[in-house]
Symmetry: D2
Subunit: 148 residues, 4 copies
Amino acid sequence: MYQFQWPVRVYYEDTDSGGVVYYANYLKFMERARSEWLRSLGVEQDALLAREGVIFAVRSAHLEYLKPAHFNDLLSVSVIVEQWGRASITFEQQVVRSATPPVRHDNDREPLLCCTGRVKIACLDSSTLRARPIPSTIRTRISVGDVS
Amino acid sequence: MYQFQWPVRVYYEDTDSGGVVYYANYLKFMERARSEWLRSLGVEQDALLAREGVIFAVRSAHLEYLKPAHFNDLLSVSVIVEQWGRASITFEQQVVRSATPPVRHDNDREPLLCCTGRVKIACLDSSTLRARPIPSTIRTRISVGDVS
Amino acid sequence: MYQFQWPVRVYYEDTDSGGVVYYANYLKFMERARSEWLRSLGVEQDALLAREGVIFAVRSAHLEYLKPAHFNDLLSVSVIVEQWGRASITFEQQVVRSATPPVRHDNDREPLLCCTGRVKIACLDSSTLRARPIPSTIRTRISVGDVS
Amino acid sequence: MYQFQWPVRVYYEDTDSGGVVYYANYLKFMERARSEWLRSLGVEQDALLAREGVIFAVRSAHLEYLKPAHFNDLLSVSVIVEQWGRASITFEQQVVRSATPPVRHDNDREPLLCCTGRVKIACLDSSTLRARPIPSTIRTRISVGDVS
């Protein structure tokens, strides 16, 4: 299955005083990856809004926190389309710490699965904020990219 | 069932350019409510860390986004203990827009359920970051407050 | 001089892995205090936008970081109007850790000045985003509250 | 003068309901650029902390907000060392919207200076949090990179 990957570097802005990445921020990392996946398929979301009056909104998110990521870690965030609806897409996403860790983590150089997420996105009409079918132009592009 | 409520005001920092509260921020609102619930039971988390070497970490979160909240809304975040484990607590939480909405929302003065969350917290030893039983002193306090 | 104060509790969301409040977040704390100061004067910013097409935007900010604040600290954020313009207001703000610190800080119970800010706000027309005079209704209310 | 540039894409997480990049987030963008500038010179901050007990902390920041950036904009953040102290570095930084704007901004394809910052960083001993001289190894690398 086609799997899109997007790198995310951990800065201080992403961490908390527990010394790890603040858990809410994984939602941001996953969104960055989804946005770049759309861009890789030729979909610019601001053009989508301006030309077709379409926005995407998160309907639900289920996150499992497995291992902590730290300041300066290089993460890789995956995007897989798990399910298609007429007006929604459900993604399975993983955030993995890369195999070339920073200095502190000398003992565990294996890739580390930090967080998994299942995120459901709805396609909305930007003026009414009601669900609407995913535009066919987008659907076509996404299918091509994702099923190949 | 005892239900703790914590008010949260929406500032620009909480919103996004879709005009609504950015979805990841509901995790922050829910954490504020859990922290204040602990405080209301006499548990200061920094004291807990200093005296007993105990920290709490989020293990999983399941969020459903139902209705958007907006800038300047006054929200109320509830805390209910849904399940106790030896080393974990699972919460059910709701974020509700209060019934006295700001001016823009003249037509819908009803309380509005914006987001629900099921959040599982683990009790960890702060030096090893391994799961450890919830200290009995805490367990006692929490039970008293929550079951009454 | 009239000085508005707004309490801010430090949660994990506000900290970084250096163990202290992340410096960018002081801008958020200062904005919360300015928003509540306006509210205390009867100005609801969403009503202001809906009724008069007026928004406020930050034009400049000068921050000095003096002492770190920590998780669970209770801060007090002050608001003083330093200068009035026809279409702008300049504030002097201080973030002080309160004198009843949490357990870790037993040795330093004095109030602690953590951060000072000088923040200039512009009054904008919400449709053109151009500077416009501060509405007289607001100006009147603010003067009353602030000069007394 | 040598000038380091770092690209930053604007996601929803960076915006507010005013429709623009939330002003506090420019501090994050500038920090990302400084971190990547250090990395480009061979300095990994987590190694610096682990091996030399050195951390950097922001002492002051002066920001001017000139033009708003929007969702999906591609920004470029510059890093110039403005002044060297024994234990501090002062940076001049600019955040510029790139000349290939997204669709909405068809009329203004010029590069747009959105925000300028003057940020002073102190070199601290990580255990005492007191100022200490910038390690000579770092100073050497930085000079080489920055003056060439």
